[in-house]
Amino acid sequence: MSLNKDEQLDELLMSWKSATDNDNGIGTEELRAKIKLSLKVHASHDKVVGDPSVTHDSPPPQTSSPTKLVPKVLFASLSIAALLLLAFVLRYTPTSADSATPPAFATISDQDVSNARELAREYKKLFGSAFEAALDNGTDVSVQVAIESVPNAESSDSSLVRICCAKRLLNGTWESVWLCDIITSDESVVRGRVATESQSVEIDLWTHRLPDGLVMVDIDLAQPLPDSPNLEHQVVSEEAGLVHKLNCTKINGREYCIFQSLRSLSREPI
């Protein structure tokens, strides 16, 4: 019995499947070990960096006799005064702990989202599914459009991504060195440039929406800081508006950090 072309194609494909079934290159065991090790490293990193449940045990309460009460009250007062003084000093002195606090301008506000959403709508009206991205570096806006529009583009979801470089001043506050807002359609490979007086930063960016609505951001920055190496980073945006610190370095004794944040323009309520 002769097979039709579809059946013949299926046969060919099944032959290819059988031939390539056991073609897995690197041993599965080796790969398994690598994955387990990576997950262990990530897990321990998460525990050190971000587990708020780690607390120090309080010492057991002790009873005190009335004769020791006065010195204890005096001691407590002095301790409180010392703590207040310490809090004041810490508040106005830049410390490494402050480095963890991102600058306000790295955060995308609700108003920014609203504006970006409006702009994205307009761009999509103009360019349809060919619209890929718009980059605003504070002085110029460049729009990236696909050469061929994709009529079957399933995902028209967009995000606003902010990438900025900040310099810490002597008083501990942050100053913006450069900042770029990117309205991007999911899955578009975005390429842009931010030029400052002393450098030109090349940005490559790709966003991908995971099934549950989280957005994964893949960023490559060429020379984000003068004389600095290129930076490749991948972030899963776990919380709307969360600012990620991608990298920090010291140049001439000053701290410089690269921050990134993202807000979805499609699924988040305004």
Binding site: S2, L3, K5, D6, Q8, L9, D10, L12, L13, S15, W16, K17, A19, T20, D21, D23, N24, G25, I26, T28, E30, L31, R32, K34, I35, K36, S38, L39, H42, A43, N152, E154, S155, E187, V189, D204, W206, H208, R209, L210, P211, D212, G213, L214, M216, D218, V236, E238
Partner: protein, 180 residues
């Protein structure tokens, strides 16, 4: 009774239960590895993509809403990593001078031991666009339903059917000499 993937994940996440992770890897590692390889990723890069896939899936599982099966979610991440790989490859190709050898070709041709027919199929599948290749690999080769393949590729089942039809049409044209 077979323990569900979700329950194994929970055991691994909350109790660092290594045997639970072993079972998950037993169930899915080879399948993910196979799909990534069959998509035409260079064999040197397959382990990295597989590793990335598992790390992303397991680290991001807290927000997995269980609307789909874990394996669908996992393969979706694998497919996205693969698509990203091809994009980066394309980008590097345009940035690198042709005579420089550091850009790895996708769809490796080191399958010398295969028959001419298998090589022809290999080459034909590799010549497909990634969206068509994923349609063929996931449905015809890996046996996913059109619905599941659509979920993995983040498209509608209709779009997946169109991709599959188109992929088969192209394959029939390329492989016409092998079809009587």
């Amino acid at each position: 009774m077979k323990e569900s993937d979700e329950s194994l994940l929970e055991r691994f996440q909350h109790h660092s239960d290594s045997p639970a992770l072993d079972v998950l890897l037993d169930r899915h590692l080879e399948s993910v590895q196979r799909v990534i390889r069959r998509m035409g990723v260079h064999q040197d890069d397959v382990p990295d993509l597989v590793q990335d896939t598992f790390i992303k899936a397991i680290r991001g599982i807290t927000s997995f809403k269980k609307e789909s099966k874990f394996s669908t979610w996992l393969h979706r991440i694998a497919m996205n990593s693969t698509m990203d790989y091809f994009r980066k490859l394309e980008r590097r190709k345009t940035e690198t001078l042709p005579e420089l050898p550091d850009v790895k070709q996708s769809c490796p041709s080191e399958r010398a031991r295969y028959s001419e027919t298998i090589k022809a199929v290999d080459s034909a599948i590799c010549s497909l666009k990634e969206i068509h290749r994923s349609a063929i690999v996931l449905t015809t080769i890996e046996g996913y339903s059109v619905q599941d393949a659509a979920a993995i590729c983040s498209c509608t089942p209709n779009a997946m059917s169109v991709r599959l039809y188109e992929a088969r049409r192209i394959l029939k044209t390329i492989l016409k000499e092998h079809l009587q």
